[in-house]
Symmetry: C2
Subunit: 444 residues, 2 copies
């Protein structure tokens, strides 16, 4: 890249909340920033489940990183996959052999769901971390109904559609509630040979209550709200096996046409490549200033790191925490450059919320607790205004107003996918033989 | 399916304009209709190129067939793939062995682009017929720029990005103009290491002029408008070979990072399965009443058929023609049931239009010819109001107004695809081992 030796080079890995907000905080400062991500877009993960449930389309919750950062003259965006590091020579290695030098490195590669050491379950119980996950889950949900409709048309046989959501955290609660809404409202009039409202939606939580990070009052209310939507909330229910079409809860097999996974944390494998100390989930142990012990120039933030902050609390794996850490890491780099001492990180808890279906939710701000429609309105306002990009905000508000008025949601499309670009780097992407091979797949 | 022996069974194959409008025309009449399509959605093909160019998102130009037809009590929608027919026993065979009996059959399976007998070119020069094509083309266009940006960042080397569009019909003209807009406007500010406005866009037409179905005046104006956008219009230029990264025009090889194919007609192979007479393009020769000679109960319409109508003109392969034929086939079935004689089909030419970039176009209505902004406004109004579904109309108008004000277009996302659902039937789709195998692919 254009060498500006007089300006320190900062490389950021990952365009999620941590990496993106670090890049924004370094915008137009006296550093040369390169943001590397495997995808060309930032994904607003808190609304991913609405893409999975066909309420929003991918373009409404994702924006190209280089578009978000187009006004940051000192920030370059690079589509590529990081395969390793030389933390002594301070170089980042890319999949195709290219290398990038850095003076400061911020690693914010995130995490995926963990499968209790059974990664082989992932194919039958996908998690919801990316746009691709959401589109895949949407297809599975809709195709379960299409399959039942088809059986009813061709054989006259009615088959019950069963959905299972594993994990009673906010994502699991939101998925279960939204699936119930999809079956009760969005699809009810579209299917004529089956009654989609008879679909069973079960939410499984291994602990005694859902929303364990919330107050008991909030989890009790969320449970009530889920039950009002027809969701069966199964607590103290550990899932012990996943197979196509069924899951095992404790010792009992239960039919599940579609199983979704919303629990456990497995940090990105990039953490291991750093060759520094990690916990069992693969999260890097970091200092209060967010750097790695013995590497003041190397910051690891977001879900990829684990930290007990100055308040003595474990920093939670939330978008809000990653955002705050991204800003804090950037701030500490700038403090170095200005000769100031670094500041230790403290997570500011601005409250937590979880939606339950179309207009129910629970919300907590310190000791204040809300639930029902008011909490849902709070949630809507907060999330629309947290969304990246003004256009997206308007588009999402428009979509929600429309969905609210029509109860229709957006078009539940099932689209085909191709192998072309999986985990691709630009070189794989380019219209080369590889590209053409992939494209050929789409026409077979 | 629910047997109602007293009501004739009509099976419609294909949810494009022909099949969908046939189904609509038979809605709530005294027939039992089953509409079969491989996809769960109808695609508004005239706007596909805007999805390819990231101006619209798939959900804005496609709607689920069962949602469009939800109020037609006598119309069932079936997601499935037809593999053959028994026209004597009047049965349709599906991929998984299931069969459907019919009293009337309307086949509207459409066509793809033809490659002059070189189908192997398709991987390197995709056509634009489906949502999946559009998403694939969008990725290739954006990745060509990402690859150039990457080279500039890592090596400091500037590489020129070359695009080639083969075929000077309306689709080719619209693609070329829109690619020029993408490079000149939408992406210009997002890329910092390269100048996207230097990208070369070439449109190749084998005949002496583009828009051959329009007047010479209109094609001259379209050529001017394309040139104003920086598109190189190459007429009398036959493409004789396609390879990764380059194409051969006459005897000369020309660099093309992305090649798009927009010419030739190859009717769906389903036509051959019917065992009736077809032309070289595989189109079925039909009677003036749109039925197949010797099979009054079997109608073939749209791009899959070829007909010289009562006016002595060849019916064109346009959405408008397919729509009119769908209605006419349904009408003739109803006339049979009412004991009336069938009517021969006559194509009503309501005029033709082609857009050139963001606010240029050419339009012809009989002898009246328009071009420039006025033609583009005409085009916009007509196409928005032809769109299926009120929500889509508002969404698209909103998108266009926004794009017009901001010149931004919607988020140009590059998403990964997976093999999971290619050409799938519901049984393949269902969360069975097959489904999970596919899903596993997405996590490799």
């Amino acid at each position: 890249m254009k060498d500006r030796p007089e300006r320190p080079k900062v490389v950021i890995i990952g365009g999620g909340f941590g990496g993106l907000y670090a890049a924004k905080a370094l915008s137009n400062e006296a550093v040369e920033v390169t943001l590397i991500d495997r995808k060309n877009h930032h994904t607003f993960q808190p609304l991913l489940y609405q893409v999975a449930l066909a309420v929003l389309s991918p373009g409404e919750i994702a924006s190209p990183l280089r578009h978000i950062l187009r006004k940051a003259r000192n920030v370059q965006t690079l589509l590529g996959e990081v395969t390793g590091f030389d933390t002594t020579a301070r170089r980042v290695k890319l999949l195709d052999g290219a290398e990038l030098g850095y003076d400061y490195l911020i690693v914010a590669a995130g995490a995926r769901h963990a499968y209790f050491g059974h990664d082989e379950w992932e194919g039958d119980a996908p998690g919801l971390k990316t746009i691709e996950d959401a589109v895949e889950i949407r297809s599975r949900l809709l195709l379960a109904f299409e399959t039942a409709e088809r059986a009813a048309l061709l054989t006259g046989r009615q088959t019950l559609v069963n959905f299972a959501v594993v994990g009673g955290g906010p994502t699991g609660v939101e998925l279960a509630g939204a699936i119930a809404d999809l079956a009760r409202l969005a699809l009810a009039k579209d299917f004529k040979a089956i009654d989609t409202t008879t679909a069973r939606v079960r939410l499984y939580e291994g602990l005694p209550r859902i929303l364990g990070t919330f107050s008991e009052e909030s989890s009790r209310r969320a449970t009530q709200q889920l039950q009002e939507l027809g969701v069966e909330v199964c607590t103290d229910s550990m899932v012990t096996a996943v197979e196509p079409g069924r899951i095992k809860v404790a010792a009992q097999w239960i039919a599940a046409d579609v199983t979704l996974w919303a629990t456990g944390v497995a940090a990105s494998s990039i953490g291991k490549e750093l060759g520094v100390e990690t916990d069992r989930a693969g999260r890097v142990l970091i200092e209060p200033d967010l750097s790695v012990p013995g590497h003041r120039e190397l910051f690891v933030i977001g879900d990829l790191s684990v930290l007990t902050d100055t308040s003595g609390k474990r920093v939670p794996g939330l978008a809000a925490a990653a955002t705050q850490q991204g800003k804090a890491a950037a701030e500490n780099i700038l403090r170095d450059l200005h000769g100031d001492t670094r500041l230790p990180f403290t997570y500011k808890d601005r409250g937590s919320m979880a939606t339950v279906g179309r207009h129910r939710a629970v919300a907590e701000f310190g000791n204040r607790k809300y639930s029902g429609l008011f909490a849902w309105l709070l949630w809507s306002v907060v999330h629309v205004f947290l969304l990246i990009g003004f256009r997206s905000r308007l588009a999402v508000m428009w979509q929600w107003v429309w969905a609210y008025l029509t109860r229709a949601g957006s078009s539940p499309l099932i689209t085909e996918y191709q192998q072309t670009h999986s985990h691709a780097t630009p070189t794989e992407h380019a219209p080369t033989p590889a590209g053409s091979k992939g494209a050929a797949v789409t026409k077979q």
